[in-house]
Amino acid sequence: MSRKYIIPVALLLILSIVLVLLPRKQDHSQMSPEELLRQINSTSRFVSTDEVADRLIRKDPSLALIDVRNDKLFSEYSLPGSLNIPVDNILADESQEILSQEGLEFVFYSTDDILADQTWIILKRKGLKNIYVLKGGLNEWFRTFFTNPPPAETADSEEFALYQFRMGVRQYFTGTPADSPEKSSAEKIIITPKKKKSAAEGGC
């Protein structure tokens, strides 16, 4: 080999050997503790039950509901169109493949929002974007759409509009007419008890 090649050959060899011997590069994709604390204190990760219901009804293609409870609870009840990724599996490769899809907003929910919030923290540290938590979880879902009382008569029109919306959501997801409970109870009061009473009165 001619002498003029010695320096470039030595340079290539040394540089490539140093590359192999360099300490492994640190993974910077994880979030710093300060940044994580700031994001945890921010409430922007929470999505309300009303918003989720509205987006479900509008069939928003960017909404991806993720149930982080175990599969037994998921099979008993889950929100329509949601996907089950139990929190134990959240770091598995196939789960990460799903959660790293672009253009989707992942909303985690659990029975309340504690488990979903823990999942959110883990994934935020992994550097995932577009992840949210359903505020109050399934408990809040039921409270909002199934057990909430009608507003007082003196309430303003906005509250009535919200109540109407929630009743609409209930009808959409269960198929029962929104005002059926009141109607049936009203019928019971008017028809059956009064007839019985009158019959009894007549008997005396």
Binding site: L12, L15, S16, V20, L22
Partner: protein, 196 residues
Amino acid sequence: MGPLIPNDIIPADWNNAIALLLGMAFGFVLEASGFSSSRRIMGTFFGYDFVVLRVFFTAAVTSMIGILYLDYFGWVDFGQLYIHPTYLMSAIIGGVIMGFGFALGGYCPGTSYCAVAIGKLDALAYSIGLFIGIYLFTFAYPLLEGLYNGSFMGYVTAPEVMGINQYLFVFFVVIAALGMFFVATIVQRKVKKVEY
């Protein structure tokens, strides 16, 4: 041109101007290295001139090592780089056809334009043949489509497919390149010199 245009450092209108300048620079370097002579490329095939092998492998290992160092120091994000998709069968068959053309004509597409620019008639014939080939390929496309789009492996790199550390892979490529340079020097010494 990344990373300057996607980051709004220079406006996107500069794309074509930069492409023109880079193309001219590339053509100049090819011509200056003597790649506009078909005999030089043929030399690799017949064993009397290995400049092509040395230039391309030096370019490959230099850019590999350079990119990995830039990535290591955080100046370039390796994950953001464009990786050409791998269609294994069409790459193998296309590579064989291209190698055949190389050995037959003494040019690759880039060097043939270089040689046309300095007025070489064989390069002109080669470039016209290239366009005829592209034209005929469009008619044969329905027949070749399965092969063309088949055995798709995704946007993968060789170390990923082999499952080895990319730094180690680069080291092996450097060793292989240096080994080839060494063997080429010995072969060149034994083959009769060709003056051109």
